[in-house]
Symmetry: C2
């Protein structure tokens, strides 16, 4: 049984299909016999899922090529992006070809940006294989690559034509990456849905044990919540910023320690607690809410202490380079209770430094 | 006195201002005191115009940085694009910064694509300094870089917030590049405006002599015609293709001989005559019309014979890689009389080869 969520944005609508064993079910891809596809994946995913997917597509008359890029955030680069574009060109793919992104958030981001740029835009299909990418990259159309001077600094807003989420893929996902995905899941509870946060407090073990019903509900709800935020953002400019809870602090950790050493979700976990400390210092968040957030992150097997080897002062330059910075002033997402956040401008550096120090 | 053309596309409208000495007139840039700007230019334009432009902007309270990239089609690359993005990052430019593209078509294309991709899109202003870019790049929002495997294969559709065309810049433009621009000017006459073609037949010398009134009218009319085509394309998919008259043949010349050896306009000049030969072979174009086209191109000091060193067979692989190819079949724009073209699919390779041979 599948859950299907229709996401309507920018006058276009696309389905997110969530279920078991979807990689073998052609109908969810919204492809047609005779079309040409380039499947982009990485060297971790390829040995497990690539050949079966290609065989299934070919069996339905789709002509396939594939390109395998190195796995890891450190390869979310212009070079990898160029590798995908070169594969499209070397195989003479035209404007009517479709790119399929099979992998985690890095694959979705870099392949999505390649799809947006190849011949100024070809269609693409997201097949996210990690929990993080399933709850985060499926909605919103953000594609990007990193630059040595900043994360996600180069990219495009570009929507997929469909998203296929096969929960079976999580069976081969390392525990650490499953937990990293849960950091973004917990984020949705904190920023906008206290009932979902409650549900997570009672079902976190089911999720860690890959219970299919729990995962299906959890992924569906996260995509639904994100779709609400993104849709609202078309009129309300600040709304989408709430998705960045913990990300400005977290990006500083990732950037300073090198992308890939701390997983994105791990950095966001600590970043959310830093944002919670900021809220506390501003008198906006109760101690018991901070405790609930910390406890849930611990139960999800996520780090809750800042990296010891990183000096407190070294956060600021990274944070000032963040895309959320406007005219040199820090803008942060601050939780005010479970299920509610505020976007605040002009936060003093001393408060930021103390928030880091307390974490 | 300036001419202003308002281009309305995609729910957005922007002005193209055409006149003398506009680089010193702040109001045409639609900037405000306190904004930050990165000016992108090349090492040919920079010594002539850059400092005066920066001084003028700073005098009006705009905070400026600049980046100078190498001049030439051979530098319309991912490396140059990255150089611009790196300059934006190194100077801590935010989402509210504005990119100013000061130069010819290469600068407009690569800087426009950098603006589209930096933090997923910042505003940009086109200041085209060559005739070609003034009549071609000001309208349509096509930005791109080249790839070793194909021209303009990587890019985005991205509209400027304003276009400033200073006719004075043409005074420092080499004669050969002025003529190359006239190839695109003549193209507009052939594809959709026989009266404009007639006007060009009588005013081509005025244009070559940089008569201000003739240039103003000519540039305004070309932008207006292109805006008509691009606006119509929102409903009519094939309409925009007519702008590619001579380009599929021309791109083959540029790709085979190396971008920059033949100027784009020079390749288009010969390409348009090849398309005219195709039309003749299909019984669709009268000899006298071919003569008029050839004579006007000659008067504009453009090449009208194909490059001797390029084998006829070597055109086809390049043409099949063209973005206009659908499912491996050649699609060409074919003139049927002065002021009218048709987009034709499935043209036989033998006809293409004979068209090249006759040119």
């Amino acid at each position: 049984m599948q859950k299907i969520l229709n996401v309507a944005l920018d006058n276009r609508s696309y389905p997110i299909t969530i279920g078991e064993n979807l990689l073998s079910q052609f109908e969810h891809f919204k492809l047609h016999s005779g079309q040409r596809v380039l499947v982009v994946t990485n060297d971790t995913i390829a040995p497990i899922y690539l050949q079966d997917l290609l065989d299934m597509l070919e069996a339905h008359g789709v002509k396939t090529d594939s390109v395998i890029v190195p796995d890891g955030e450190q390869y979310k680069t212009m070079e990898t992006w160029n590798q995908i574009l070169t594969a499209l060109l070397a195989n003479n793919h035209t404007r009517s070809s479709i790119l399929v992104a099979l992998g985690g958030g890095v694959i979705g981001d870099v392949a999505g940006f390649a799809a947006s740029a190849y011949q100024r835009g070809i269609k693409f299909i997201q097949v996210p294989t990690t929990l993080l990418s399933q709850v985060d990259s499926s909605v919103g159309g953000k594609t990007a690559i990193n630059h040595p001077l900043g994360k996600n600094m180069i990219g495009a807003f570009y929507q997929p034509q469909s998203v296929v989420i096969d929960i079976n893929c999580l069976k081969t996902l390392p525990q650490r990456e499953l937990s990293a995905g849960l950091a973004e899941v917990i984020k949705y509870g904190i920023i906008m849905d206290s009932a979902f946060f409650n549900w997570l407090e009672t079902h976190i073990d089911d999720l860690l044990n890959l219970d299919v019903d729990a995962l299906s509900y959890c992924i569906y709800r996260c995509c639904e919540l994100k779709a609400q935020v993104v849709a609202a953002d078309e009129t309300e400019q600040d709304m989408r910023a709430i998705l960045n809870l913990g990300h400005t602090y977290g990006h500083a950790i990732e950037a300073e320690l090198g992308y890939g050493n701390w997983l994105h979700g791990e950095a966001v976990s600590v970043g959310m607690l830093m944002a919670a400390q900021t809220a506390k210092l501003l008198g906006l968040l109760a101690d018991k809410d901070i405790e609930r957030i910390e406890n849930l992150l611990i139960k999800a097997k996520l780090p809750v202490k800042r990296p010891e080897q990183m000096a407190i002062e070294s956060y600021i330059p990274h944070m000032l380079r963040d895309k959320k910075v406007i005219s040199g002033k820090l803008r942060l997402v601050i939780p005010t209770k479970i299920g509610q956040v505020e976007v605040m401008d002009g936060i003093e550096k001393s408060v930021v430094l103390e928030s880091i120090n307390n974490s």
